[in-house]
């Protein structure tokens, strides 16, 4: 009897605690990223950004979140109520699911499945269903145009995300994230795979930015064209879900880039290998640098037009990507990887 109690209940309790930990991380990271984006935007735009509420304005996003919670949830007449209410959950749950397989350090990883990389790409592409539903169900033409664009964009750029990661999988021989990092003890993959790895990284960053619907690929919510795009009709907490998910998706794309190209939680040249818990620091630090890069894109580049977006993917990125895979295969065949 006690046996069952300890194993069964204990397991559930453990699962709940872990889930709670991840939810907390989700919320804190989301709010922190919003703050970061505003500060970085201000840095690029000769402004100060939020600096009044709390130290360095850190409490500003919390105040904003509280405001959003207290707002009335409005909706359009003749909207498809069921789908309209369902859409934000699609977006936020897929973002949360992807978080589960990310290795924050050697020890901190909720579950290390053997198809980790595949799981990440699969889950992050389910989020588009939420955007499509949101745009379709809110009975607004602007939202519908945004949703249409989102469908076209995400389906196209998923290919490039997947193929650029596949290029690196040739090098690691595994889809399991812990193994991918293990391989990099001989040097980060971007060094090991030199030229094709650098090409793959650039393609991944372009396609990853497009996947998360951020500028210069923010056609989905292009505010000068469509108002707010697919979430025009959402308010209060439902809007906040979309908003938060966008930032968490950016974190996830950056984290994948760090795991696959920059050695995950490994320290540079193994300087802190004796202290394993510092892995979290290295992982988050590297992720922050990639996030900074994505924010830099956003506050510098103009937006592409929808046909140019598709031209870029189907005429340039995809052929380069396919060629790159062959190049990588040749390099592995000739044993040209750089290892320390």
């Amino acid at each position: 009897m006690t046996d069952l109690f300890t194993t069964y209940t204990g397991n559930i309790l453990q699962m709940l605690l872990i889930a709670l930990g991840y939810l907390t991380f989700f919320a804190v990271a989301g709010l922190l990223l919003v703050w970061l984006e505003r500060r970085i935007a201000a840095f690029f735009q000769l402004r100060l950004g939020p600096n009044r509420v709390g130290p360095f304005g850190l409490m500003q996003t919390i105040a904003d979140a509280l405001k959003l919670v207290s707002k009335e949830l409005t909706g359009t007449e003749r909207a498809d109520k069921f789908l309209y209410n369902l859409a934000p959950y699609f977006v936020i749950i897929t973002a949360l699911l992807a978080l589960a397989v990310l290795p924050f350090s050697g020890q901190i990883q909720a579950f290390d499945i053997n198809i980790g990389l595949f799981f990440l790409t699969a889950v992050s592409s389910v989020g588009v269903i939420g955007i499509l539903l949101g745009g379709w169900s809110s009975n607004n033409k602007y939202a519908l145009i945004g949703a249409m664009r989102s469908g076209v964009q995400t389906v196209s750029y998923e290919l490039s995300v997947g193929l650029s990661l596949l290029t690196m999988v040739l090098l690691t021989g595994s889809l399991q994230l812990s193994q991918i990092i293990e391989v990099q003890k001989d040097g980060w993959l971007i060094v090991q795979g030199h030229i094709p790895a650098i090409i793959a990284f650039m393609i991944f960053m372009i396609a990853g930015t497009a996947e998360t619907n951020r500028a210069p690929f923010d056609l989905v919510e292009a505010e000068s064209e469509l108002g707010a795009g697919f979430h025009t009709e959402y308010s209060g907490m439902k809007f906040a879900y979309f908003f938060l998910a966008e930032f968490i998706n950016m974190f996830i794309i950056s984290a994948i880039a760090v795991v696959v190209f920059f050695g995950g939680w490994l320290s540079p040249f193994g300087i802190t290998d004796s202290i394993p818990w510092l892995g979290v620091f290295w992982f988050l630090g590297k992720t922050f640098l990639v996030i900074f890069l994505m924010m830099w894109f956003r506050w510098t580049f103009p937006r592409l037009r929808v046909d140019q977006l598709l031209t870029l993917e189907w005429k340039y990125l995809l052929p380069i990507n396919l060629f790159n895979i062959v190049l990588m295969a040749v390099i592995i065949w000739l044993n040209l990887e750089i290892k320390f």
């Binding site: 935007a41 690029f44 735009q45 000769l46 402004r47 033409k141 602007y142 145009i145 249409m148 500028a215 210069p216 923010d218 056609l219 292009a222 505010e223 000068s224 064209e225 469509l226 108002g227 506050w299 510098t300 580049f301 103009p302 937006r303 592409l304 037009r305 929808v306 046909d307 140019q308």
Partner: protein, 373 residues
């Protein structure tokens, strides 16, 4: 009956969409009724009248001194130049010769206004194509001009510094130094505009060949200003019908023949350089003398019809006055550049995408209070 023909089952329809009157891309209360097939624009119909304030009717009630400030509220980004237009028509009708000093100061301020208007347009243009940072860069430089205006006449936007017969008061002792400082500063900032936006690959792709307007169409739609000059139509009022200090000044009229969005963009960027050169040539040569000639307290124009046109930042602004010899005009008509430029929008955009519409309407540099008076 279930039809089996695939065209019937997957029939597509054009749909209408309202862009505005509350929309981030229309910069004011302009309503564009779009007919769209997917993303492709089939027709654009501007719907005006949302901020009509009967300015022309109010002019029939007011004295000529009062009319000057109504013009501030039309194209508020070239307020000074609008003021000048009314002052010039009154001075011409009275056959009043204003001192050289007034002419030079008016011209310097007009060119500063042009720079500030074009800088704001550049920021907004960047924002419309999705580069949000340009807006802040533009405002950084525009603030310096507004500071000069504030010191000169107390207002930053609706200046109302011109009066029939001259200026409301003399320039501030700091004026020359501040303008020189600004010009030196702005010459280092203007190349940043090219680095940030003009030379960007995405921006070039978004604008090159988009929104084509041929020279013939530019003339027949009555466009003027940078819109017409981007299509190769030489129409600069400062060159062809010079007024104030432009009569004796040597400057180039900026022309591009491509007729697309990028050409109109380049015209405005180049005009900023030209304005800088004009101010540089004038600022050291402000003649001494009076800042106004005395007029009667109640100005009555002689009987007749009078017309004066000036080149604002957006194009040709005409003021047409019919006077019956009273203290206010019998009828006053403004020919505003924005209205005619907007009329060419449909010609330029049909067949383009929604993203193109935003870029094209941005290079028209629309100020809605100028279109609806």
């Amino acid at each position: 009956m279930i039809t089996t023909k695939i065209e019937d089952r997957f029939k597509t329809e054009e749909y209408f969409i309202n862009m505005g009157p509350q929309h981030p891309a229309t910069h004011g209360v302009l309503r564009l009724i779009l007919t769209i097939d997917g993303e492709i624009i089939k027709n654009v119909e501007p719907d005006l009248g949302y901020i009509h304030r009967s300015i022309e009717k109010m002019c029939e009630r007011d004295s000529y001194q009062q009319i000057v400030h109504l013009t501030d509220r039309m194209d508020y980004l070239s307020a000074h130049i609008n003021n000048e237009a009314v002052c010039l028509v009154v001075e011409n009708a009275l056959e009043l010769e204003v001192p050289e000093r007034v002419k030079v100061i008016r011209t310097i301020l007009a060119e500063l206004t042009r720079i500030s208007s074009h800088a704001l347009w550049w920021g907004v243009m960047g924002m419309d194509v999705g580069a949000l940072t340009t807006f802040m860069y533009a405002f950084r430089d525009r603030e310096l001009i507004n500071d000069i205006f504030e010191e000169t006449c107390g207002a930053r936007l609706t200046m109302n510094y011109n009066i029939p017969g001259g200026l409301m008061f003399d320039i501030h002792p700091n004026f020359v130094k501040r303008v020189k400082d600004f010009i030196a500063e702005f010459k280092t900032k203007l190349p940043e505009y090219d680095t940030l936006l003009t030379n960007n690959v995405i921006f070039q792709k978004r604008t090159k060949g988009v929104g084509f307007l041929s020279r013939e169409d530019a003339i027949s739609f009555g466009t003027s200003g940078p819109v017409a000059r981007g299509s190769g139509y030489s129409c600069d009022v400062r060159k062809h019908h010079p007024y104030s200090a432009y009569t004796k000044m040597d400057f180039k009229e900026v022309l591009r023949t491509a007729g697309d969005t990028l050409a109109r963009y380049e015209v405005r960027i180049q005009e900023m350089w030209e304005s800088v050169a004009m101010i540089e040539s004038l600022i050291d040569n402000i003649p001494e003398g009076d800042y106004k000639v005395a007029t009667k307290a109640v100005i009555k124009l002689p009987k007749g019809e009078f017309y004066q046109k000036v080149e604002t930042a957006r194009g040709e602004l005409g003021v047409f006055v019919i006077s019956k010899g009273d203290k206010s005009p019998y009828r006053l008509k403004f020919r505003s550049p924005g209205f005619s430029n907007l009329s060419a929008l449909n010609k330029m955009i049909v067949g383009g995408k929604i993203g193109d519409l935003v870029a094209v309407s941005s290079t028209l540099d629309l100020v809605v209070p100028d279109i609806d008076r």
